[in-house]
Point group: C2
Chain length 300, copies 2
Amino acid sequence: MKQYQAAIIGYGNIGRYLLEAIAAAPDFQLAGVVRRPQTVKERPLELKEVPVVTALSELNQVDVAFLALPTRLVPQSAPEVLAMGINTVDSYDLHGELAKYRRDLDQVAKAHGRTAVISAGWDPGTDSILRCLFQMMTPRGITYTNFGPGMSMGHTVAVKAIPGVKDALSLTIPLGTGLHRRMVYVELEAGADPQMVTTAIKEDPYFRHDETIVQFVPDVQELIDPGHGVLLERKGSSGLTPNQLLRFEMRINNPALTAQVMVAAARAGFKQPPGCYTMIELPPIDYLYGERERIIEKIV
Amino acid sequence: MKQYQAAIIGYGNIGRYLLEAIAAAPDFQLAGVVRRPQTVKERPLELKEVPVVTALSELNQVDVAFLALPTRLVPQSAPEVLAMGINTVDSYDLHGELAKYRRDLDQVAKAHGRTAVISAGWDPGTDSILRCLFQMMTPRGITYTNFGPGMSMGHTVAVKAIPGVKDALSLTIPLGTGLHRRMVYVELEAGADPQMVTTAIKEDPYFRHDETIVQFVPDVQELIDPGHGVLLERKGSSGLTPNQLLRFEMRINNPALTAQVMVAAARAGFKQPPGCYTMIELPPIDYLYGERERIIEKIV
């Protein structure tokens, strides 16, 4: 019953967990992994038996490609993959730009008769579905998305780019009502000025608007764990009735959940007409493995 | 922009709150309320300006009918309404029978080119969507649905049917891991035997499998409030990663939420091809009022 042949493009954090999520899915089979020429010769143990190539075209029969690339590279890669007649799934996470990305990719997907599911992860992704549900249940009110505690990839990368920083970790700490504290742990280069680094971090656009605490540590790596979480809260009105209280909370391994959601999104992608979809546009049942009637009996 | 003309069939608890949810929705307008001949002459204040009739056919142009009837009457009413070329939405809540009801109604809906959204409420309904999401995020694991504290309509009706019971209230108290205590408050008829009533309740199929505590009170009505709640919990694995913790909790006015969800389901029904749908089969975005692109920009 392994009916879908899947390729992983990119082999960072998400790529590694995609390998596991694909292995655990009854309906997906790994066709291979696409890596950059510089890294294609590296063979970690888990890739020993896996075709590893530098171009998707080197793999036989691929039905869907998971774009496990840095987010900014995704909008360039997706149209190329779709043009090869292969569905795509990505976890593009720039909230402000995904609506435009979707419009552009929708035309490409339709032109090639394939589907693309974009921004499939937990935020954007499953959190988006929850925000949709919360709004539908209580059309008037405010939803607060509180992230963490957990590591923010974007913020961490921003700190690492600052001169004098050898290694860094930016943790997101929820303060409630959608506000966050940034706890930044920095390992300095020899001779770097802590005060200058602190100022550079606090003035960075990623940090400027949030409470930011910078601490210097001898070893950043020992602080890193992939645990993350979110708390979605809403107090709203159903019809004319106020004070309806909704709350979703999760504590998760971040890349493991993202990879799992991407596999579910790929499954849903195969069930749609050609086009580009965000997760809120797909019927929840389509994400699940199994026979439709049995799912309805068991889950509804 | 009030483009959908809606009828409410039945005017109990849910019907009253549907009146408010329809009034609050920018895209729905109330065409009228259908009541039984015995009650059609009653005119509570909020129905003074509303057409109240004894048959749906007496109303001009109805696009969708909300079946706010006792659950067991719903499967008979829905096909009749669809045959009139009118969409239906119900909150049919017999979990064990809804899959069959859906299959039967699907043929009727398709034959008349209309849509039916069934079991639209919070359980079945929005809880079903959450169970779907939880399973997609962590395909292996156990989801516990913990209801309450809140009034159970089904259990309350069962107690009221026992000889010697003048009035009753059955509260559902969550004990965790999907188990529940039933707290039953009973107002006895003059001369009734408390011990016989207690035994009859505890032996009733609704109560036999749960811890059940019966208490006798002088006035049941002063104990009744429509507050309810649920806690959905899951610990599961994403791919090969265990210990992913998911949790949804809400505290709500029960009929107000049900009515609001039914209005959202009606909106989604207008966007589907003919057929019968449970809520997990509809894209979450379709439940929302507003322009698709704006919703994606704002919510995803």
